[in-house]
């Protein structure tokens, strides 16, 4: 089930959607699903369910570290579908964020089938550009799944046109040139990229990379259709002394972020 209705509902409420990333399997599979539920209960509209991967070239140290630890405790690809089912059941959009090789190994068609059956909305693919995504695009269309590709400040108009033409759900605008990680400021590039992207598509444009608190969420929510937060949330879990403390910290940050998008356009 597409995330489009969620984004539409947020737009009707006059605010950006809040999109939160967490990797499955950190600190455990159950623990990560509990954390995703906390996000949903705290006002996060869409969960980006992260697939831990051994070679995450788009990720900074925080998410790398969580992925390594999740793999060390034995997270499996099939756990993704359990998480998607739980998130969808909690009433939020369930998008899976994954590097391409795990899907390729699982089988693109089989992955699409199982994701759709679990109630997942679709995929965000940080290292798969539409040019190489023929199999995925066909499978997603067959299974009515969202295809979220990325655009970057370096994207030319030709690339923006080509990439947005293949997106469904929303377009993921990476705010800065760089890897994931909380940043003190999201930078001017984000606003410019959102405007440039809108010249090529009517899809919602959501901004990720670097947002870490409610004020930044408010700032980005003024010009973007969705605010994506990753490392700052993950850090609540990786830096906590106990899983329970991690969930508490996560709830506090998520509510701050939700309040941020809420006041963004007022």
């Amino acid at each position: 089930m597409s995330v489009a209705p969620v984004l539409e509902k947020c737009r009707a409420e006059g605010r950006a959607a809040l999109i939160g990333y967490l990797p499955v399997g950190f600190p455990t599979v159950e623990g990560s699903i509990a954390a995703m539920r906390v996000l949903v209960d705290s006002g996060v509209d869409i969960i980006e369910i992260g697939v831990p991967y051994s070679d995450p070239v788009m990720d900074g140290p925080v998410i790398q570290d969580a992925a390594v630890r999740a793999l060390a405790v034995g997270v499996r690809l099939s756990d993704i579908f359990t998480a998607a089912e739980a998130v969808a059941g909690a009433g939020a959009g369930a998008l899976v964020m994954t590097y391409w090789n795990p899907v390729l190994r699982y089988g693109v068609e089989r992955f699409a089938t199982d994701l759709a059956a679990a109630g997942g909305a679709g995929l965000i693919t940080p290292d798969l550009i539409p040019d190489e995504a023929g199999d995925w695009i066909a499978a997603a269309d067959r299974h009515d799944l969202d295809k979220v590709f990325l655009v970057a400040p370096s994207s030319t108009p030709e690339r923006l046109e080509a990439v947005t033409a293949q997106c469904r759900g929303f377009v993921y605008a990476t705010a800065v040139m760089g890897v994931t990680g909380a940043r003190a400021s999201v930078g001017e590039a984000a606003g410019a990229l959102v405007s440039r992207t809108r010249e090529h598509t009517d899809l919602p444009v959501c901004v990720g990379l670097g947002v870490s608190d409610g004020d930044q969420a408010a700032e980005v929510g003024r010009f973007a259709d969705g605010v994506i937060v990753g490392s700052a949330l993950v850090r609540c879990l990786t830096e906590a002394a106990t899983p329970a403390e991690g969930l508490t910290a996560l709830g506090v940050l998520a509510r701050d972020l939700a309040a941020g998008v809420g006041r963004g356009r007022s």
């Binding site: 070679d55 390594v68 690809l77 090789n101 940080p126 290292d127 040019d131 990325l150």
Partner: protein
């Protein structure tokens, strides 16, 4: 099977070398561009600048001049009869890339990419390195052309190739040890990509082998193609016919593609690549991608990857840092599937034996990477017999490996060395049959 010796070389322009490839950087099903969107404009720019440069007489001339006056090209060939006694008596000829400035084939590619960096108006280069040879070559080119240089190297490799770390620093480069993952070459590549995404406006990533996103596999191959172009002529001159087999070690696969490519259309010439068998392919401790891997995506290319059933990369192992990589260039995957080339694993023990034999029979210390190709030649020679002519790409010299080899053979004085050593030097390396495997 004697091919007609042609006296004039066939100087294919660099750009023509890739003409047979399918569009969008594919070799059959392999290759492609599996990278974040943020890097696509840089890859498009690189491809455009490279394609133009490769038919621009000024660029081609400048690279030729550097190869002649700086690299030391053409590199010679050396026939090695005493070593050949351990290869079933076949004729064995080495292509001496070890004699290039900086000590390996890596400089061929690096000078090309460093010149392209200038053409693109960029001021900073980054590179990954395993054995340190590519890092040293990149640091050298950066010093020569006045570019800022940062080298990423797995922590484990900085320890086993400490001498090369010092060399890079002496050349003015910053060496960043990488502590993630397996702390080897694959993790250094990850870190280089992360740097590149953040700094792509000013920075060129001098990828060190024939893998990564298009156009790297094709471009790096073309910069190394000169190895085979020279060697083919040199062997024809020396022997009067083409070799029966061309051998090379295969890490990412650049020295192998470099020497193979000119022979692709010579149907009588077998092309055999040797990958690191580590402790043995059935031990799990190896880098035998073709023997154990399956196709997948790593570092931007669709190719053979050592991976588990969830698509997670499996750590590789090899005594040789330069072959210790869980993936391989996509064109090799294509050559394997099309049947044009063969690939075999060589264990650490076999490679170290060949290392020692070449040193003691010919006075040439090979890089441990190249020793895998030498060990391959020993096997092939015994299979093919005395009539065979075997060309081996000696991709690098062993100076960087002296410490590893000395430890392996127990040559470093210490109280407990007799128990700790893993290898044994042959007592009489000149004697026939010493190299036989039990």
């Amino acid at each position: 099977m004697t091919a007609k010796p042609s006296q004039t070389p066939t100087p294919l322009p660099l750009a023509l070398a890739g003409a047979a490839d399918l569009p969008r950087g594919r070799f059959g099903a392999f290759g492609g561009r599996y990278v974040p969107e943020a890097l696509i404009p840089a890859l498009e720019q690189l491809e455009e600048v490279w394609r133009k440069a490769s038919i621009d007489p000024e660029f081609v001339g400048e690279l030729e001049r550097l190869h002649k006056t700086y690299t030391g090209r053409p590199s010679i060939i050396t026939e090695v009869p005493r070593f050949a006694e351990h290869c079933g008596g076949a004729r064995v000829i080495l292509k001496r890339e070890d004699l290039n400035h900086t000590g390996s084939h890596k400089i061929n590619n690096v000078l090309g990419q460093a010149l392209l960096t200038k053409r693109m108006g960029k001021t900073r280069v980054i590179a990954e390195t395993g054995a340190g040879q590519h890092g040293v070559a990149t640091a050298t080119a950066a010093a020569l052309l006045g570019l800022e240089c940062v080298i990423y190297m797995g922590r484990k490799d900085t320890e086993r190739q400490a001498l090369n770390v010092a060399r890079m620093r002496l050349l003015g480069a910053t060496v960043v040890p990488v502590d993630h993952g397996s702390k080897t070459l694959k993790d250094a590549v990850n870190e280089a990509f992360r740097d590149w995404v953040a700094n792509v406006g000013t920075t060129h990533y001098v990828l060190g082998t024939v893998t990564g996103p298009h156009p790297f596999p094709e471009m790096v191959r073309d910069f190394h193609r000169i190895i085979g172009v020279e060697a083919r002529e040199q062997v024809l001159d020396l022997v009067g016919r083409l070799p029966d087999v061309v051998c090379a070690c295969v890490g990412g696969g650049s020295n192998a593609m470099g020497i193979f490519h000119r022979f692709l259309d010579d149907a009588s010439v077998r092309l055999v690549g040797f990958e690191a068998g580590g402790a043995g392919v059935d031990t799990g401790e190896h880098a035998a991608r073709f023997a154990t891997g399956i196709p997948g995506v790593l570092h931007g290319a669709y190719t053979y990857v050592m991976q588990d059933t969830d698509g997670q990369t499996i750590d590789s192992h090899s005594v040789s840092a330069g072959l210790d990589y869980p993936s391989v260039g996509p064109e090799h995957a294509f050559l394997l599937e099309s049947g044009r080339a063969e690939y075999r694993p060589i264990t650490d023990v076999e490679a170290m034996e060949a290392f020692s034999l070449l040193s003691r029979t010919e006075g040439i210390l090979p890089a441990i990477e190249s020793a895998h190709a030498l060990a391959g030649a020993m096997k092939l020679g015994r299979e093919l017999g005395r009539e065979a002519v075997i060309l081996v790409n000696l991709s690098g010299r062993g100076d960087k490996d002296v410490h590893t080899a000395a430890e392996w053979f127990g040559l470093i004085d210490s109280d407990d060395d007799a128990d700790g050593r893993r290898g044994r030097l042959p007592d009489d390396p000149g004697a026939e049959g010493v190299g036989e495997q039990q």
